[in-house]
């Protein structure tokens, strides 16, 4: 056994208040002067694990040892006190402040004006810069800096607080390739200086380049731990995507029908205005499930929002049964037969403080059936319809006047899926339809989607869960940085090939190059 680890986490379990199980008994160890890559798909529990280590979340069960002593973190300051600091994906910087002010913020020492009177902080930051080899214009406002430099400010901020265990959450997701190279140099210097680093990623290439050791998480458990020199992309991909033992939904062979949803050269930008969907073309046929696999943040959300009227596309064309669909609002799209199971049900699909009955008519509130004279709601019909939904889709709820927030995630999703499927759509766009659900609900919802397909509907499935995509889809595309890095019939792909493509590597072994220079923002 190696010397005493700097940090050791034992048997960490985490159950979120809404019932989602994020971690199921994770052991994690970090030596001094070691760079560990924490690899896994979305929802594998990487970020949860590191938030626990940095004191932001408390584990439901399990213990953390720092230098062999049991530690209890009530908040991030407790973790910082023993030298553990985390740099989050979304930076916490004050845009108009200079880099120096941001780094020192909150650490100015005693007295209201302490910091800005002496040169002490500046000297300390300068020393840190020399030590780490980073270059930052200390007196420029942070808002004028490119993302890569902002990230350095954020890292320095953490180091300034005496961090010797640095946790980086998806540090490369916002960086240009050159900046990734700089980051790798910097991490190595940190290691030479005796510091330990954990970085979270889902990119195989980076984990192979940057780390000494790789820990792979899947579905809240460690599925692999390997020294990077012994790791291969294929091996890592398998550990990452794995095989889950869930009762499988059978997919009967069925000749697909005519194309229903046709997308041509679709382009869309993300919230920051960067191109996120870079000219996608595909079609979904009647009686087929077309699955889009890929790690989240590769443009899937923007694609779905462009398809469903929630985000205006920047180019391209969408047709449904031959009618052009561009620039219609969600309600008009639904009237033309588009059903949508949104990725974030609490955000888009449900109003959590409304009751089941009110949620059952969300997006159907304008239908004649539910209205009386003068735009009055026909509560009799609405209640009857809600009761019917609850019964048909096996939603467990005290009654239809129960507030949806009090239901479990599985029952919320059953209500939502039931509502969307009962609209009799021609095309259904299902995004992460079973994320965070218990097994029974997962299987049930997958069966419903299969049934839609067998009834001759076109199903577009977008999921970060590879098992789901493989199980349900007739054809699969893998999305990476805004494009399809590969498309084929499900039988033509091996799981490992898809795993590699999800990590940005085409099966031939050559790393995939992004066509446009703009990096996909997460």
């Amino acid at each position: 056994m190696s010397p005493q680890p700097r940090v050791e986490m034992r048997g960490i379990h985490k159950v979120y208040p809404d019932g989602t199980v994020a971690l199921r008994g994770v052991d994690f160890r970090l030596q001094q002067g070691e760079i560990v890559g924490l690899l896994g798909e979305n929802g594998a529990g990487k970020t949860t694990l590191m938030k626990i280590l940095s004191g932001l979340l408390r584990p439901t069960r399990g213990e953390i040892m720092v230098d062999g002593r049991l530690a209890h973190f009530r908040n991030p300051s407790d973790a910082l006190r023993v030298g553990i600091g985390m740099v989050h994906q979304a930076f916490n910087l004050v845009p108009p402040y200079t880099a120096l002010q941001n780094i020192v913020l909150g650490q100015e020492g005693a007295g209201p004006l302490a910091s800005f009177r002496t040169d002490e902080p500046r000297r300390r930051v300068a020393a840190l810069l020399t030590e780490t080899g980073l270059e930052i214009p200390l007196d420029d406002p942070v808002e004028s800096m490119p993302i890569g430099v902002q990230q350095r400010v954020e890292i320095l901020k953490t180091l300034y607080r005496g961090t010797s265990v640095l946790i980086l959450d998806e540090p490369t997701s916002a960086l240009a390739p050159v900046e990734v190279h700089d980051l790798s140099q910097f991490l190595k210097r940190l290691r030479t200086g005796g510091k330990s680093v954990v970085f979270i990623t889902h990119k195989l290439k980076e984990v192979l380049e940057l780390s000494d050791r790789v820990v792979v998480l899947r579905n809240g458990q460690v599925t692999g731990e390997i020294a990077t020199v012994q790791a291969t992309p294929e091996g890592l991909a398998e550990m990452m995507v794995g095989r889950k033992v869930v009762a499988r939904v059978s997919r009967a062979a069925r000749p697909p029908g005519a194309p229903v949803l046709v997308v041509r050269d679709l382009r869309a930008a993300n919230d920051q205005g960067a191109s996120a969907v870079k000219g996608l073309s595909f079609e979904v046929r009647a009686g087929e499930v077309f699955g889009i696999a890929g790690v989240e943040g590769n443009g899937q959300s923007e694609l779905v929002q462009a398809l469903t009227g929630l985000r205006p596309p920047t180019g391209g064309e969408i047709t449904l049964d031959g009618t052009r669909l561009l620039n219609l609002n969600p309600l008009e799209l639904y009237r033309r037969g588009l059903g949508h199971i949104p990725e974030d049900k609490a955000r888009f699909g449900l109003a959590l403080n409304f009751d089941l009955a009110e949620n059952s008519i969300l997006s159907r509130q304008g239908e004649r059936t539910f209205l009386g004279a003068l735009g009055r709601l026909n509560w009799g019909r609405i209640l009857a319809y809600a009761r019917d939904l609850v019964e048909r889709f096996k939603v467990l709820a005290p009654n239809v006047r129960t507030v949806v927030r009090s239901l479990s995630g599985g029952n919320q999703q059953r209500l939502l899926v039931g509502r969307e499927l009962s609209k009799q759509p021609v095309v259904i766009v299902a995004v992460h339809p079973t994320r965070g659900l218990d097994i029974a609900s997962t299987v049930y919802i997958r069966e419903l989607l299969m049934q839609m397909r067998d009834d001759g509907k076109a199903v577009l499935l977008i999921s970060a869960d590879l098992d789901e995509v493989l199980e349900l889809s007739d054809r699969i595309a893998v999305m990476y940085e805004g494009v399809f890095i590969g498309t084929a019939k499900t039988e033509e792909f091996t799981r490992e090939e898809i795993g590699l493509m999800m990590g940005g590597i085409t099966p031939k072994g050559s790393a995939y190059e992004t066509p446009a220079s703009a990096p996909a923002a997460d």
Binding site: T308, L310, N329, P330, L331, E332, Y334, H340, P342, R347, F348, G349, L350, A351, L352, N353, F354, E358, I361, L362, S363, Q365, G366, F370, L371, L374, G375, R376, L377, W379, R401
Partner: protein, 346 residues
């Protein structure tokens, strides 16, 4: 029809009322007053006789309406604090029609009421449009509109509506435009029935119609509203318009439904702060139209009964206001807490 979502909020409100009363008592003890005696004076003053109850309700009438303005805003996801200005304009509209336009009885009263509501609603339109078109935050725009309304109302009152020879107030409402006084011993008029009816209609509208559903959906979860095809701009306009009608009516009730002045003071002294007070009333009433009515009665009791704390228990009037304020703050805590949580969890 949906049941009133009352029981739990009601219990919470009752608990906070008791906490507020205890806090007020502690404050009185600190200043060597007898809280039992003072609260007795407050309660008897507010509810001790039929006249007192009616007087309490007279105080409550405009408050339930300005509370409605704020509540409908919150239900639609807006922080509309423009009731004050909309209420001034409502008072101006009512003053103009009631005092200067001779109309046949019946019609005159209806026209004056309608004018007040309309003026209030119109004053709510600019902030609504600014919000819908340019995303101007409604807190900023409504505060600005409040000040503009204050000076505009003062200007109009002095220069165009003043009673000849008495510059300190406007021409009083003609008798044909006055709501009947319910008893000679209290200033409550039939205007309260109009106010109650308006609150009820808005309640039915919010929970019983498609447009109301969409308004509440937009306030509850704007993303889900977009998903359901609700047009954000329409909701903003509607919410402001309903709020403006309510605030305008509040202003009108103080002119054509509140003896003895039946007119607007040039200082706006007989209407001032009614709009802002409505925010507190709405918070206590959990931003619910019916809850707002109950909370308005409570506020009316504090306003009317508070005067008796001074007479009978000798509590300084400043302290009476401090005690009332304490009670209000405690009452508003649960709803403020929820509002804050909703804002920051996004």
């Amino acid at each position: 029809m949906k049941r009133l979502p009352l029981p739990r909020p009601l219990i919470e409100s009752l608990v906070t009322i008791s906490i507020g009363l205890v806090a007020g008592a502690l404050l009185m003890l600190l200043f060597d007053y007898n809280p039992v005696q003072a609260y007795r004076a407050l309660f008897v003053g507010a509810f001790g006789s039929l006249e007192d109850i009616l007087e309490t309700l007279a105080f409550a009438t405009p408050l339930m309406l300005t509370a409605l303005t704020f509540a409908v805003g919150v239900r639609g996801g807006l922080f509309n604090i423009g009731a004050e200005g909309q209420m001034y304009l409502g008072a101006i509209g009512a003053t103009f029609v009631a005092g200067l336009l001779p109309l046949p009885p019946g019609l005159h009263l209806a026209a004056a009421t309608a004018a007040g509501m309309l003026f209030g609603a119109l004053w709510a339109v600019p902030p609504a449009l600014l919000k819908a078109w340019r995303g101007v935050h409604e807190v900023i725009s409504t505060i600005m509109c409040n000040w503009i309304a204050f000076y505009l109302a003062t200007y109009l009152a002095i220069n165009f509506l003043a009673e000849p020879g008495r510059a300190e107030r406007t021409a009083p409402a003609l008798v044909t435009a006055r709501y009947p006084v319910l008893t000679e011993d209290a200033s409550l008029t039939a205007a309260i029935f109009v106010a109650l009816a308006f609150c009820l209609v808005v309640y039915l509208y919010l929970w019983g119609t498609r447009a109301g559903y969409e308004l509440r959906l937009a306030g509850e979860n704007p993303d889900a509203a977009r998903y359901a095809g609700v047009k954000g701009g329409k909701v903003i306009l509607l919410s402001f318009a309903i709020g403006g009608l309510a605030a305008g009516l509040a202003g009108a009730t103080q002119i054509i439904g509140r003896p003895p002045a039946w007119s607007l003071y040039a200082t706006l002294g007989n209407v001032i702060t009614l709009g802002f007070d409505g925010i507190g009333v709405a918070l206590v009433g959990r931003n619910h139209p019916i809850g707002g009515v109950l909370a308005a009665v409570l506020f009316g009791a504090l306003a009317h009964g508070g005067r008796f704390m001074e007479y009978h228990a000798g509590v300084l009037s400043e302290l009476v206001r401090a005690i009332n304020g304490l009670i209000v703050i405690t009452l508003a805590v649960p709803e403020l807490w929820m509002l804050a949580r909703r804002r920051f969890s996004r």
